[in-house]
Structures are given as C-alpha cells and as structure tokens.
C-alpha cells in the first residue's frame, strides 16, 4: 500500500480506488451521506467501497486496516468515535494513504481534510429555534442520542449552552433514546406521563423526533413544539405536515459529495483545504420548500 502518492499525480480517475467507512447505516442520515458519496464517485469515475462499522469503533479500525491492505488510494472515515479513530488514521498515515474525515472529526491524528457540520453550533441553533417556537417560555424535554457518541455530546452541549439564554425555559427531563425512532416513541410516552406540562421537545436527531411525534399524537407540533436534527426526508415531510416544528438540517449528501471530491484530489496528490465546513441550517415551515427538493 505504499507509493500511491508518488504515482498519484499522474493517475487517471479510472484507477482510483477509494474506501469509505461509515459509522452506521442504521440511520437514514448516513444512508444519504453514502448516497452523496456514491453519486459523486460515479460522476468522477472512481471506485468507491463503503463499509458499515455498525457503531463499533474497533470494527471501524478493522475496516481501515483492510482498506490499507487493498491499497486504496484514499480513505474516507466517518468516525464512530472521534478519539478512537486516531490510531486507525495514524496507521493509514504510515502507509501513506491520505484520510478524509467526514461528519465527525478525528482526534489524535492528522487527516488530509475534515468535512463536517458543527454539531455544537447546531445544538445552539436548535435551542434558539425551539425557544422561538415556544415563545421563549415553557418546559422542555430532551431526547438524547446514543450515550457516548460525539454527536450526542456536542449537540447536548450546544443546546444546553444555547437554552441558557432563555431564563423562562426549563429543561425538565433528559433521556437517551439512542437516535432510534422506536425508543423515541417509548421514552417520549413515558416522559409525557411523568412531566405533563412539557411544551417543548428537542430530539438530537429526526428519527427520535419522529418517534416523539407518534407519542404526542395530536399535540405534536401544536401544544408541544418539537425540534429535531438532520433534516432527513421523513423529517422534512413532518415539517410540511406541521407535526415537526423545525429541524437543524445537515446536508449529508453534500457532506458525502465533498468528502469524495477531497479524497479524489488527495489521491491525485493535489493540495486540499484542511477543513470544509458544510453549513447547518434551521428548517421550519417557512423554508422547508427549499430543502424538500435536495
């Protein structure tokens, strides 16, 4: 797996093999990210292999190792965990294979490029959006993602910081629902039971938000305002239907597309930017039409 960078400059697009390890495909968000990547790869005429680490950091390390064995020209990693991805990326570095991080950063090793949206900022944005919808007062419940994932941590942190600006809003309950729709439904059902006065919900992704909507029934979007995260197709549909008030849209397809562009350039030995920031944006009833098409 060495020498790829030396012959890189002359390599035709057709010879380029890329590997991409996605943290999990147990979430439409990443399915979209993969789609963006695959479409871009097709467009550029490069071979792209996508693997699913099933949210297991060590399986991801294995996959990166295996990419190195296959002499990939560049590797895209969507870390399960930012810290745990370090050693794997270092190993790839040693084999002189450039690595692009997408959606989540890699700590403890240098990558050729990071393509990501800022989850802390997204969390703050969610706080603002929810506060606005709630008229800056009321009781809020938070549905957290898989405990221990950086996405959950960062969004939670951003949200907590953001919501502090609204003294009349109280966070009365926080429970993880593991980024999972079914769990979102059950946890929300129970939260409503024990906290009848809830008027706002922040779900750290749309999947959980959709579960919460089911739990809240007719109240969803009306008496109880709900803000999700991701802007998945199902999430956007819910916004159109008025059951979801807002979502912090990431642009997973764009993330995937940018990551492949960066990887191809890196494989060819071209210079690339250290970071590509893909903006997050609050989607609500007013602007949902702009997103629905993408």
């Amino acid at each position: 797996g060495s020498g790829s960078s030396s012959e890189g400059s002359g390599a035709a697009a057709g010879d380029i093999k890329l590997g991409m390890s996605v943290s999990t495909l147990n979430n439409p968000y990443f399915v979209q990210l993969r789609k963006g990547a695959e479409d871009e790869a097709k467009k550029q005429g490069v071979a792209l292999t996508v693997t699913d680490a099933q949210n297991d950091a060590s399986q991801q390390v294995n996959q990166i190792q295996n990419f190195a064995s296959q002499s990939m020209k560049a590797i895209i990693i969507n870390p399960v965990d930012s810290d745990a991805a370090g050693p794997a990326v270092k190993a790839a570095e040693r084999s002189k294979i450039p690595v692009i991080a997408v959606d989540r950063v890699v700590n403890g090793a240098t990558v050729a490029q990071t393509v990501a949206s800022d989850n802390v900022a997204g969390g703050k944005l969610a706080a603002q959006e929810l506060a606005k919808q709630m008229g800056e007062k009321g009781k809020v419940a938070v549905l957290q993602g898989v405990p221990g994932t950086s996405a959950s941590r960062d969004r939670g942190q951003g949200f907590t910081e953001g919501i502090k600006a609204y003294p009349d809003i109280q966070v009365v309950a926080q429970q993880p629902a593991d980024f999972d729709r079914t769990k979102g439904l059950d946890v929300m059902t129970n939260l409503v039971q024990s906290n009848p006065g809830i008027t706002g919900v922040f779900a750290e992704n749309d999947e959980m938000a959709l579960g919460a909507i089911k739990a809240l029934g007719a109240k969803a979007g009306k008496e109880v305002k709900i803000v999700g995260f991701d802007g998945t197709p199902d999430g956007l549909k819910a916004i159109e239907a008025g059951t979801l008030n807002a979502s912090i849209a990431q642009q997973p397809q764009l993330l995937g597309q940018q990551a492949v562009q960066g990887a191809v350039k890196a494989a060819k030995g071209e210079k690339i930017e250290a970071t590509v920031a893909v903006p997050v944006k609050a989607v609500n009833k007013d602007n949902v039409a702009e997103f629905a098409g993408s």
Binding site: L25, N26, P176, D180, T182, L185, N190, L191, D234
Partner: protein, 327 residues
Amino acid sequence: MLVSTNVLQRKPPGRKSPAATWLGENGALVALVVLAVALSLLSGDFLTVTNLLNVGVQAAVTAILAFGATFVIITGGIDLSVGSVAALSAIVLAWTATDAGLPWPLATVIALGVGLACGLVNAALIAYGKLPPFIATLAMLGVARGLALVISQGSPIAMPEAVSHLGDTIGDYLPVPVVVMLIMGLITAVILSRTYTGRAMYAIGGNEEAARLSGINVNRQKLITYALAGLFAAVAGIVLASRLASAQPQAAAGYELDAIAAVVIGGASLSGGKGRAFGTFVGALILAVLRNGLNLLSVSAFWQQVVIGVVIALAVLLDTLRRRGTN
C-alpha cells in the same frame, strides 16, 4: 407464640392450598406485583389507566416475540433471529404495499409468509442439517437483517395506512397492540396446553430421544415450532412498524435477548421441557414495567441500565429463593 408454632408446623405433604400451588408456579407474578407496588408508591404517575395501557403497548412487541420464543425454548432450542425477522417482515410488507404496489391485505399475507419461511429455514438447518439452534438462528439474524437493509436500501418505508391502524387505539383508549398481544398470548397458551404439537414440544425439550422413541416425529415438530416463532416475529414486526407508521430496517435489533429474557423470567428453562404462555407474558410485563417505571422516576439513563440489571436479577432471585423455601 403464634409465629413460632406456625414456623414449626410442617406443611402436610400434598395438602398445599390451590392458591399456594398456583403462586408456586407463577413466581414471576409475585415479582411483578412487588415491582408494581413499589413503583406506585414511588411515583404517582405509575398507577394511572393511561400509564398502564402505555406499559401494555410498550410490552406488546417484546411479548409477541417472546410468545414465539417460548415454543422454541420449550423444545430446548433458542431463536436469536426473531428481532431481525420482525424487521424483515415489516419491511417486506411496507415495500410490497408501496414500491411494488400490491394491495395491503396481500402484502400482509406475504409478510407473514416471510416470517414463516425464515422460521422454516431455521428449522430445516436445525432438524435436517443438525446445526445447533444457536448457530442456525444466529446466521438467520444476519441474513434477515441484511435482507431488510437490502430491500429498503437502508431507509425507512412508510406503512400502508390501513395496516398502520394496528398501532392505534380501539375507541379512545384500548390500544390495538395490547389486543394483538393478548390474542397471541391466548393462542400460545392453547397451542402449548391443548394441542398435540404443544405437548410434543414439551416432550422434545424434556428428552428428545425418549420423544422420538415414543413415535413423535421430532423433525416435523421442530419445523412447526420454529415456523411459529417466525410467524410470531412477523406479527411483532408488523405491530412495531404500525406504531411508528413506518417500517425500519434496523427495527427490533437486539430484541431477541429481551424476548428470551422474558421467557426465562417467566419460569422456562433454556434446557427445555418447561415454560408457559402466562409466565412469558408476566416476564415481558416485568421488563416493560421496569423500563417505564425508571423513566417515570427520571432515573438517569446510565443508572437505568444498572438498575434494570439489578432488578432482573432480584426478581428471578426472589422466585428461586421462594421456591427453595417451599420445597
């Protein structure tokens, strides 16, 4: 003095009161009652009709899976594939009804057929291929999940309206999942206690060789057993998807352990020959009550896992200790 004489009095053999016998056989029920009483004392929200119905709804999918698993466990087998099969069946239903445009009743039949087929494949591997059930159904766990992902391309598919009503309520209160759970439980009880196949399951789990030499067609009965588990998994998958109005390829992942736990908490033995529908039902309720209660009490998420573990152990411990006491 009353106390000490009571203690000294030996229970006359064979003269246990029917109530005591019944309780002896339903140890998990005692645990459930203790748990429920504790929770109603700790949280005013627990003992409300709405909440109890919620618990019912939240128990439904696990319970239905667990009913199916009861058959398998009674024969001394194990089925790790039920969660995946549930997801696959739901995806097939949603996909055939939307993408393939079939009418929903047909789609439903096909989905149930898929569950049945998965069960039959498990059984064939076990009965004719002589694979250990753990391996055969672990393989199916992967295959069914993979197929669910392949068919759905990883994204949820909306359930047809008509089927989604399975997730609603009858009238204002009665949730359909609870009704389905009760019906499936009743079917399980009848199969186990009254039918040839049910009795054969106990015999096979108790001593497969003796069952065979008594003329029971062990392979055929195993086919039926795993097919039932597959069918029940399909029903569970459809109920789950109806609650969400959408079939998710990753739904019910890991539910197999919950289902098996419910069966074992309900008094079955993984070495076979023992188990009852009612016990399984209670086992599933214990798990659901526990999760619901801890949420109501706002126990922190990390501690919840600890507490659930401890309570499961205590519940079963209570049962074994009590049983040792009476023996």
